[in-house]
Amino acid sequence: MPPVFNEKCTACFKCVEICPGDVLREGDGKPKVAYPDECWHCGACMMDCPADAVRLDLPLWMRPVTKRVK
């Protein structure tokens, strides 16, 4: 699902600045996901966050299907 912002967020809004999909907006003390359906799950918000405050999960239909071999 679109990014989740944890308590480490310093509200610098770098993620809002760079999100390629224009999905994020400045919210109250942290970013808000304004257009959740349009998230590309590209990870740019997570990559550029200076505070390690972003986690991104994938919706079920994007999760890799795997098999434990070892």
Partner: protein, 576 residues
Amino acid sequence: MTKTIKTDVLVIGGGLSGCMAAINAADHGAKVAIMEKSHTERSGAAGTGNDHFWFWDPEIHHRRGWTIPDMVRDISFDGEYGKTKGGLMDQELLEIVAEGTKEAVDNLESWGIQFRYDEIYPWNLQYEAPEGEKRFRIVPQFQSEWDTLNYDGRDIKRRLTEQCLKRGVEIYNRVSGTGLLIVDGKVVGATGVNMRTGEFHVFKAKAVVMATGMDQMRLFRAQSGDWFNSQSPPYITGDGEAMALRAGAEVFILQAGKSRNAGFQYFRNLSRSSGTATTCYPAGRFVNSEGEVMIRHPAVREPLRKRREEVERSIAEGKTPFYLDLTDASEEEIRYVEWSYGHEGLCWVILEIMKDLGLDFRKDAFELELEPTGKLSGGFLALYIDTDCHTNLPGLYACSPVQFAGEVAAPTYVVLGWRSGEKAAEYAQEAAEPTLDAKQVESEERRVTAPLNAEDGHPWQEVNKEINNIMEEYKGYVAGWNLPREDAEVSRAGLENCIAQLEKLKAAEMKAEDPHELVRCNEVMNLIDIGIMMVKAALEPEQHERGIWFLGRQVEGEPEFRKTPIVIKYPSKGDA
């Protein structure tokens, strides 16, 4: 609310090619502005990085007996990859690209992107370098020669943005280009709208470079049913092509493609980078459900084409699905894969998510999607340029998308971007001060902002879905050209009906709740214009099949691919 900006060269789209164009135009003395829909630091197909780069190095490759024409022939015809291309690639442009790659690497290196390393590995090309000098990590990718660099390109867009700003290039982020301005047949600027503020922008420019990217995303139905689960950015919706079409530019069109290789695609569910096919060098093995190896590694040494019998036997014996299995690789190989994967666009985040999900290349095999033979893909439309990157419209240059030279990916756009910047700056130097046509600007503003001002109308998603439905019909009919005569008539009638449906959709009113949605509405309007053009081209005579592509109707034998594009003027009366 209108903002007017005056510049010498306007670049529309600040992706890889657009940033290169802007930098070089500035280096040639021009005042430059970039209009970018998202944000140049992370926008476009290379937004979260690139990890490989096709190149020709006079030192390395010449010594190995490979010339530029050899490289171009290999990638277009002779090599494993070339064989699937049916000679469609533009040879002249590709030679220019190959020739420019080493300079591009040198430039990118000087801007802080690491291409050379103290350590190279046994699976990299072993070549002589002066004592103590770092070396490139060169691998064979799809071609016969070792001609591809693995490198750390994760922040390539940030470095390019820095170089633009250093040269005084004005970057207008979040401003989406909507139309070209033409006076006396010359391109004199463009308009755009800010997707956060709604402010309408008018750029007055002596020359314009179109660099809005290679795709018409969301024109066809998404493979996974989710438009935003895509390899290329789902926000690249053919805006540049539509703007150029409306201005009367010549375009290059490929109709639907048909897969022949039954190739392995992405990880199942995840329309991500081609990482499975490329990045997992040197250790990626494709196995069937019994763990039997189909392909030991996916690069050129063992092309799928040659192993297809084995894949087909596995399917017949029910030994499916197929997996990417690295579990037998050495730790050193896995680390290399992770290093490379971490720089490939969209893949760094997969490594992060794998941690959260407890997945590990050392332990887990990843299910792959197997593309069925004969599967139809959507068509492709691009601007048509000469070797100076000039379109047929005076003042309009383009570097992306352009006629089929793009299969070597980033190098094409880096080099053609660079070239178009130089040529546009030279043109701007000679060009007179442009004057705008106020009426044209006004009517363009009305057209573009209509969905925001509409009382009522369809949301963009609704119209986009209907475009997908119509284009699915189109795909079927284009493939139908292969059928006997009577069916060809059915296809013709079907295609004509697709045009009628798209025209009707074009007249439907849309409603945007905010400036962000306004840009999505404009994307959808552009997709309709592109769809109409693609279907009309399918109705033109003299079309045929090359490589994996239909260029419309198949004719007897295999005619030479002619470089002449199908020219249809906008608005089209249906005449060629």
